[in-house]
């Protein structure tokens, strides 16, 4: 045994030196397994700073808004009451990838976090197609700094309350302010800054053109055919408002843009929670076990590690008091383990269900899965009958038009495919969140904006829709209408907000 493989420091107290040694060893194992990661940077913070980071969704910098204060207060409350331990880690999808280590954690916990976040999540951020397409890891922190400064500047110039009001409205639309299919341009700070001023002026001129009130000369034919606007329905409400809302000032458009960009950045995270957490759990488990087998870790370390590991990947059954839905850590971890198993020791059933996977090289197969899927397609592709039996999955149909709930499928031969398809659908953001699009703008008349909700499975919108619609109206400045279209194509008006900001302004 040479020095390199000497046992790692034991005990629960950590030092910078021991963290460094762990990181070196874990990094070595990660390289042996061929994990491709960004460089990473470990930052030691206190519990209080962890709560700060929590409140701003993990970002080291964020603009100021009361809602972050609210999150902070509720985190602080439950932490102080001991209702909740703080998460062990926060990791930021940036290059270098920033991993926070909390000072209160023991040495085994720090090692766990390094393996989980510094190598697990990190490699996922770098490899998965959604993150590669939708986020710019190298620019995000700079962009957040830029956003905070710009908003602070506006607060100074136009008043905190004015800006706050606008942010409230934008936050309400954050989930319908993302491009789901169109690939966004890369974030670039210098370009952003450069274009900021000219964009304001240019955009305004575009908008003015759209709302031109002077009669235009155009062909009679064209005048007769009603010009539809937008020509195609637009799924990204914030984008549409930024580009077309008639009464927004340039600085207001800028804020809409900032919120939209940040929302877009978080979009992949919401689509890959199960895969991403499962992937990170798989790797911390695999790598630390690897080190243990090389006799680098003590039994005490392993006991503490396994205790927190099993807590994280525990799935309580549906009728337990701890139950709160399928635990993405548990299912994710189990699925990745299952893929590894099917590659290494396939059964006859696996060969039948996954002919390509069974017996293949597990690293290559897993890498392929990690790079090219999101939660929905990952489950649809890889959830095996064995896992469904292990988790004892079953499916309940709650149809408001039927008097009773019905079990549609359970973990048996007839049910596998249905359960798999339903579970995948449960992770599909497209069906989990209502599909609302900009349908029409009344250019010639009252300038009203019509949104259309495409009902999925006859699910109506929740009560919050009225408040959200008011926010839309604030941004748009003219009446806003919400229609819904059911699966048969029938359209009905749901609600309407009448507002004319020009008049209000005159009264003021």
């Amino acid at each position: 045994m040479n020095d390199d493989t000497a046992a790692l420091p034991t005990g629960s107290e950590w030092t910078f030196e021991s963290i460094e040694r762990y990181d070196r060893e874990i990094g070595r194992v990660a390289a042996e397994y061929g994990l491709d990661c960004y460089r990473h940077q470990l930052e030691v913070i206190t519990a209080e700073q962890m709560m700060d980071a929590y409140a701003s969704i993990g970002m080291p910098v964020y603009y100021h808004h009361w809602s972050f204060g609210k999150h902070f207060l509720s985190t602080e409350k439950s932490y102080k009451r001991g209702q909740m331990g703080l998460a062990y880690e926060i990791v930021i999808n940036s290059d270098p990838c920033i991993v926070y280590l909390m000072e209160e954690n023991t040495l085994p916990m720090q090692a766990l976090v390094i393996a989980h976040a510094g190598y697990g999540h990190n490699s996922f951020f770098k490899g998965n197609y959604l993150f590669r397409t939708w986020t710019s890891a190298d620019a995000i922190v700079d962009y957040m700094v830029f956003a905070r400064n710009v908003i602070a500047e506006y607060e100074e110039r136009y008043g905190e309350e004015e800006v706050e009001h606008l942010l409230d409205a934008c936050h309400a639309l954050m989930s319908v302010g993302v491009d789901r299919y169109k690939r966004p341009p890369k974030l670039s700070l210098s370009k952003e800054r450069e274009r900021r001023k000219e964009r304001g002026i240019y955009l305004q001129s575009q908008v003015n053109d759209l709302w031109r009130t002077l009669p235009q000369r155009y062909d009679k034919k064209e005048a007769e055919a009603e010009r539809r606007f937008p020509e195609e329905p637009e799924e990204n409400l914030l984008y549409f408002i930024e580009k077309n809302a008639p009464l927004l000032e340039p600085w207001q458009r800028e804020i809409v843009r900032i919120v939209r960009k940040i929302g877009q950045y978080f979009y992949p995270q919401r689509q890959t929670q199960l895969m991403n957490e499962g992937w990170a759990c798989f790797w911390h488990y695999t790598m630390l076990y690897h080190l243990y087998e090389q006799r680098m870790l003590g039994d005490g370390f392993m006991l503490e590690f396994l205790q927190s590991h099993t807590n994280v990947v525990f799935q309580p059954p549906f009728n337990s008091r701890q139950f709160s839905g399928v635990n993405p850590y548990a299912l994710g971890f189990a699925m990745w383990r299952d893929i590894q198993r099917m590659c290494q020791e396939p059964t006859a059933e696996d060969r039948e269900w996954f002919p390509d996977l069974a017996g293949s090289d597990w690293r290559a197969s897993m890498d392929f899965a990690m790079r090219n899927f999101k939660d929905e397609s990952f489950i649809a592709q890889y959830l095996s009958p064995k896992l469904m039996r292990e988790f004892r999955l079953f499916n309940i149909l709650d149809d408001a038009s039927l008097p009773k709930l019905r079990i549609e499928a359970i973990h048996d031969e007839q049910g596998y495919r249905m359960i798999r398809q339903r579970l995948a659908d449960q992770y599909n953001l497209g069906s989990r969140e209502p599909d609302i699009q900009v349908w029409n703008v009344d250019l010639r008349g009252e300038r009203s904006l019509t949104l259309r909700h495409f009902k999925y499975q006859e699910r109506p919108l929740g009560d919050s829709r009225d408040t959200v619609l008011k926010h839309v109206a604030t941004l748009w400045g003219f009446p806003v209408r919400l229609e819904e279209q059911d699966e048969n194509g029938e359209v009905s008006l749901v609600t309407e907000v009448k507002i004319d900001r020009r008049r209000e302004n005159h009264e003021v």
Binding site: V44, W66, I407
Partner: protein, 420 residues
């Protein structure tokens, strides 16, 4: 190369700005919550932070979400009894159970959080319309007192500590003279030897004598005391409220004092208490309630029990006087009294009250504050008290109160005095 960055000493309270904004934004709701909290609190607890909760629906961040209804097909783990095709009733509302209906939990629970002491007082003061100067004074932690804290090497001449300075000087002289003494001893021995040998007139002996004389001059040259030796008594400021006080809360609990009036009275007592905590280290509170008879009670009874019947104010004043004589007679007690009433008193009793105040109570107390929580024309008690105030404007204050903002003027004199 791995980078580990220690951020533990970075600026804390990054969320302070957001927290303030949250509180500013929901000031209305938070103020209501604080009001409820004050109703629950004890007078002496006014100086703490508080856990408050405000309705969560007011502060929700709305998004488009699915509501109840439609078809939900939900996959759950842990099946132990169902087979395909089973049907069963929906679980009752409110319980998550195995239903998909809880998907869109637009929670209606209260949002609870803790206000810090400063935030709590700020809102408390807001209601009372306190002048800014008074607010700052009340929020300040405490008065300072200078206490001895050892010695320092700098200071003003009046603080020189002679013993310490001389002891230091002696030590310095011993230390600085040690090499000379050593040489001196050696030279003296040599001289004695020379004299023994009868060589006392020799050249060497003269040389030694010269050297001895030179060393003695050196020794004498060491300063008896140097600026370097000076030690001064050191005094530092420590938070130390001066002494102790007792605060009497007198309240009329006859039938006409309803809950709302009692809440106003409670704030009045709280404000006086808060003022006293800034000035005194230890404060005792005595609660006396009265209708036709006075009675010393605990705080709970004081604010919540209800009695009926007539009103004889003098009974309370007499009881207070007796308690002072029995328990707070010595000079170390600063006595404050706050009285709240709705102004009703038995006609013949009011002159008696004035007499009691003039002869027995006012000479004893630092400050006597009276509020009359009533609308309309003041009655006989008010007129009698007004006479007392005319005679003792420095330590007697009274005010008729309609709402919370009227409370502060009662204390105006008190605060002005302490601010000066």
């Amino acid at each position: 190369m791995l980078q580990i960055i220690d951020r533990r000493n970075d600026s804390r309270n990054k969320s302070a700005v957001n927290r303030n904004r949250f509180i500013r934004r929901f000031k209305g709701q938070i103020r209501n919550a604080v009001r409820d909290a004050i109703a629950r609190r004890k007078v002496a607890d006014i100086d703490d932070g508080e856990k408050v909760s405000i309705p969560a629906k007011d502060i929700s961040e709305p998004q488009f979400r699915h509501g109840k209804g439609g078809r939900w097909s939900v996959v759950q783990p842990g099946n132990e009894r169902f087979v395909t095709g089973d049907e069963f009733d929906r679980p009752p509302e409110g319980k998550g159970g195995a239903s998909g209906a809880s998907q869109d939990g637009e929670g209606i629970d209260d949002f609870a959080f803790t206000l810090s002491r400063e935030e709590f007082l700020d809102i408390f003061f807001d209601d009372l319309a306190l002048p800014r100067l008074v607010k700052t004074q009340l929020t300040r932690i405490s008065e300072y007192k200078r206490v001895r804290a050892g010695f320092t090497s700098t200071g003003v001449p009046t603080n020189i500590n002679v013993v310490r300075s001389l002891r230091g000087a002696t030590g310095r002289r011993l230390a600085a003279g040690a090499p000379y003494h050593k040489l001196l001893r050696a030279l003296k021995e040599e001289l004695a030897e020379l004299e023994l040998c009868g060589a006392s007139d020799s050249e060497r002996a003269a040389e030694v004598r010269g050297e001895i004389a030179r060393l003695l001059r050196r020794l004498e040259g060491l300063p008896f005391i140097d600026t370097f030796d000076l030690r001064y008594n050191s005094r530092i400021r420590t938070p130390a409220p001066s002494t102790q006080a007792v605060m009497f809360c007198l309240m009329d609990v006859s039938g006409s004092m309803d809950e709302e009036k009692k809440q106003i009275a409670k704030r009045f007592f709280m404000l006086l208490y808060l003022f006293l905590t800034r000035t005194y280290q230890q404060i005792e509170i005595v609660f006396i309630r009265h209708h036709t008879q006075a009675q010393e009670v605990d705080e709970d009874d004081f604010f919540h029990a209800r009695e009926t019947g007539g009103t004889v104010v003098s009974s309370a004043l007499e009881l207070m006087h007796r308690i002072v004589r029995e328990r707070y007679a010595s000079n170390v007690w600063n006595i404050y009294c706050a009285q709240a009433s709705d102004g009703d008193n038995w006609d013949a009793d009011s002159p008696k009250c004035r007499e009691l105040l003039e002869s027995k109570i006012v000479p004893l107390v630092q400050y006597f504050a009276y509020i009359e929580i009533a609308e309309g024309e003041p009655q006989n008690l008010w007129r009698e008290y007004a006479k007392v105030m005319a005679d003792h404007p420095q330590c007697f204050a009274m005010q008729q109160i309609g709402g919370l903002t009227d409370i502060y003027p009662v204390f105006r004199e008190l605060f002005r005095k302490s601010l000066a």
